[in-house]
């Protein structure tokens, strides 16, 4: 066996590397090839979406958020803090049956968090703590007990919010087709006409048979990576069995019984608005009063009173948030003085007199809104 012949054997592992790398990187691309579908106008598609009604579905939802939030020092990885939920990847199994049964289980690393309701009672279960919380829902409220569940994992709900926001400020177009969760879908692209917002575009993938949105992608104005992507990786439109929405507390699990206060969500069991970071007005500030919305459409800004930036920054108990604020640049204008926090999607302005302005807008727009805002 000659030397050349022998060294040729090394072509085999080299070829294997190429094949493995090729399959790993190109495989998903090939699978996502655009399906051929009859063309449809944006208006027709929107109408179909708004009338879409399914009796039940189940599937796996994957969310990926990259809002460009700063890494907060001292935040333990895996802690269920706001930043954790607003960044990174999450997978959840969801099931829904009309009119009032729903189940969401968030798949964590070696743990799971479950919320389920069968219409009369709702359960929250945390596998890492092995604690279950039972909520008995008021009888007269049976029409919308799913309120207690994280709607944010329902792409349909998220999409509706965007569709509700559509007005003359938005360009709507059908921008092709794609395959989502193995189903043929139309892509509906919403582009804000104003340049005051940080949102570049919102793309919905809409199933061509049931007209249910299967995927929502929010692109920032700058950059090529989605800020938020939320969509099904697998979906079935068969109505799940009623038994899949019931929960029997297992032995050895601590159960807490709680009644739902008539009108509002329960703070313990209702999970935070994860996956809904695109909606202004929920910055996770300290129990503020009702936010005031300034402006309309894409460049609307929410104002919350009651936060004390100066106090927060000097209070060591406030921890990481204080550190973040201490480093934040200070701006001033006709509206006063305050600290600003900006990410590639969300901007926040915390004034020294305790008002917080948050929006998916540029910093200039935020300051203009602050000038117009009531004291």
């Amino acid at each position: 066996m000659g030397v050349a012949q022998r060294s040729r054997r090394w072509l085999v592992p080299v070829a294997t590397v190429a094949v493995v790398a090729g399959v790993g990187t190109l495989g998903p691309v090939v699978a996502d090839a655009s399906p051929k579908l009859p063309s449809i106008t944006a208006q027709d598609l929107l109408a179909k979406v708004q009338t879409a009604k399914v009796d039940g579905l189940s599937g796996t939802v994957r969310s990926e958020a990259d809002l460009g939030l700063p890494a907060i020092p001292g935040m333990a990885p895996g802690s269920r803090e706001l930043t954790d939920l607003l960044s990174g990847q999450h997978t959840a199994r969801v099931a829904f049956a009309s009119p009032d049964k729903a189940r969401v289980s968030l798949i964590d690393n070696q743990a799971e968090q479950l919320w389920t309701t069968d219409g009369t009672s709702a359960w929250a279960y945390d596998s890492s703590k092995r604690e279950a919380t039972k909520l008995t829902l008021p009888a007269h409220k049976t029409a919308k007990p799913e309120k207690a569940l994280p709607k944010a994992y329902d792409p349909q709900a998220v999409a509706k919010q965007f569709l509700d926001a559509i007005d003359p400020t938005t360009k709507v177009q059908v921008s092709g087709t794609e395959k989502v969760a193995g189903r043929d879908a139309y892509k509906l692209r919403l582009v804000p006409k104003t340049d005051k917002t940080t949102v570049g575009s919102v793309t919905l993938a809409i199933d061509s048979k049931t007209w249910v949105p299967l995927d929502v992608t929010v692109m920032p104005r700058t950059g090529n990576d989605p800020a938020v992507e939320l969509g099904f990786t697998s979906v079935s439109f068969d109505v799940p069995a009623a038994s899949s929405f019931t929960f029997t507390p297992p032995k050895g699990v601590k159960v807490t019984d709680q009644k739902v206060p008539a009108a509002r969500e329960h703070p313990e069991s209702a999970p935070p608005n994860r996956g809904k970071p695109v909606k202004p007005g929920k910055p996770g500030a300290e129990r503020p009063d009702k936010p005031t919305v300034i402006g309309t459409g894409w460049d609307s800004v929410a104002m919350i009173r009651g936060a004390n930036a100066a106090g927060l920054a000097s209070n060591p108990a406030a921890g990481p948030l204080a550190q973040l604020l201490a480093k934040a640049p200070t701006v001033q204008g006709s509206w006063g003085r305050g600290k600003v926090l900006t990410t590639k999607m969300v901007s926040a302005l915390i004034t020294d007199d305790g008002r917080v302005f948050v929006g998916l807008v540029t910093l200039d727009t935020l300051q203009a809104a602050a000038a117009k805002a009531p004291r």
């Binding site: 090394w10 085999v12 294997t16 070696q110 799971e112 092995r130 929960f247 050895g252």
Partner: protein, 295 residues
């Protein structure tokens, strides 16, 4: 490894033997080679000591939990051991995965070819009619069997210790539903299987490194060094773009077996990744061993 390669070559050689007819059948050769390889791996004292250490893991964890009285505060599988001995299997497997099991695999795989070379036996094997490709296949099969035996040792040990020290009963899954003890044991068995398959990528790296040197210790050190570097890279968030390609990135996904129903997606991705590593490093080891000069 490539299961398709061995039979193909076997038939090829069988044709040759039909012509010569004086040599013993190649099939018998192969089986004999595989058996002698297994005997070699499991006959070594270090293999037996290694398996003994792995068997001691559930015992140590079990005694520690028993002595401390309760594990109520602990999260995860460890916290469930006191309530149900079956979770000792899962907890021991989970705790052995980051260190004990890779160490054992590193030692055995680093030894596999370099050990023969250092003893001078590789020379005979390379000239023997058994064939170098088949020798390599036998080594890889022996490593696979070792990975399986290693996790099964923990499974059995955890089962015995868990059933002696703790109460056992229906098994609480991550999704909050319960399954019978029998199904729980079956799921623990699947976890052991998944973990042993997760170790194959590392075993293939060890086999390749072992084919490069004739010093077993150097091969072990290099393999373990690679393992540690990959572990550090997995822990650096700035490298998240390449994380899905790293050997241990999805190792923890074995717990998805304990969901209701089991969530196979991540496990499948993990096993595909391991298959990729095995394909690359096994063929590299093959290229090395078949082009190697007999010294």
């Amino acid at each position: 490894m490539s299961p398709s390669e061995a039979p193909a070559e076997a038939t090829e050689v069988t044709e040759v033997t039909r012509v010569t007819a004086t040599r013993p059948s190649a099939g018998r050769h192969t089986v004999a080679l595989f058996i002698s390889e297994l005997r070699l791996v499991f006959g070594r004292a270090r293999t037996q000591v290694g398996l003994g250490v792995l068997a001691a893991v559930p015992l140590l964890i079990g005694i520690a939990i028993k002595l401390s009285g309760n594990s109520g505060g602990a999260e995860g599988f460890i916290g469930q051991v006191a309530g149900n001995g079956l979770f000792l299997i899962v907890a021991s497997l989970g705790l052995s995965l980051p260190f004990f099991l890779p160490t054992a695999v590193t030692v055995i795989s680093g030894e596999s070819l370099a050990g023969e070379a250092s003893l001078g036996t590789l020379r005979n094997l390379l000239t023997a009619p058994a064939g170098r490709s088949r020798l390599l296949a036998a080594k890889m099969v022996a490593l696979t069997v070792f990975c399986l035996v290693a996790t099964m040792t923990i499974w059995v040990s955890g089962l015995i210790v868990g059933f002696i020290l703790f109460p056992v009963g229906d098994v609480l899954l991550l999704s909050g539903s319960t399954v019978s003890l029998g199904e729980g044991l079956l799921r623990a068995l699947v976890i052991a299987l998944v973990i042993s398959l997760s170790l194959l990528g590392l075993a293939a790296i060890g086999l390749f490194v072992s084919s490069l040197t004739s010093t077993p210790l150097a091969a072990m050190a290099a393999t373990f060094g690679t393992f540690i570097v990959l572990g550090i890279m997995t822990a650096i968030p700035q490298l998240h773009a390449i994380h899905p390609w790293l050997l241990m990135y999805r190792w923890q996904s074995f717990a998805d077996v304990l969901r209701d129903p089991p969530y196979w997606h991540e496990i499948g991705r993990n096993l595909l990744l391991q298959a990729g590593y095995v394909a690359v490093f096994y063929t590299a080891a093959w290229a090395r061993i078949t082009s190697r000069d007999i010294t």
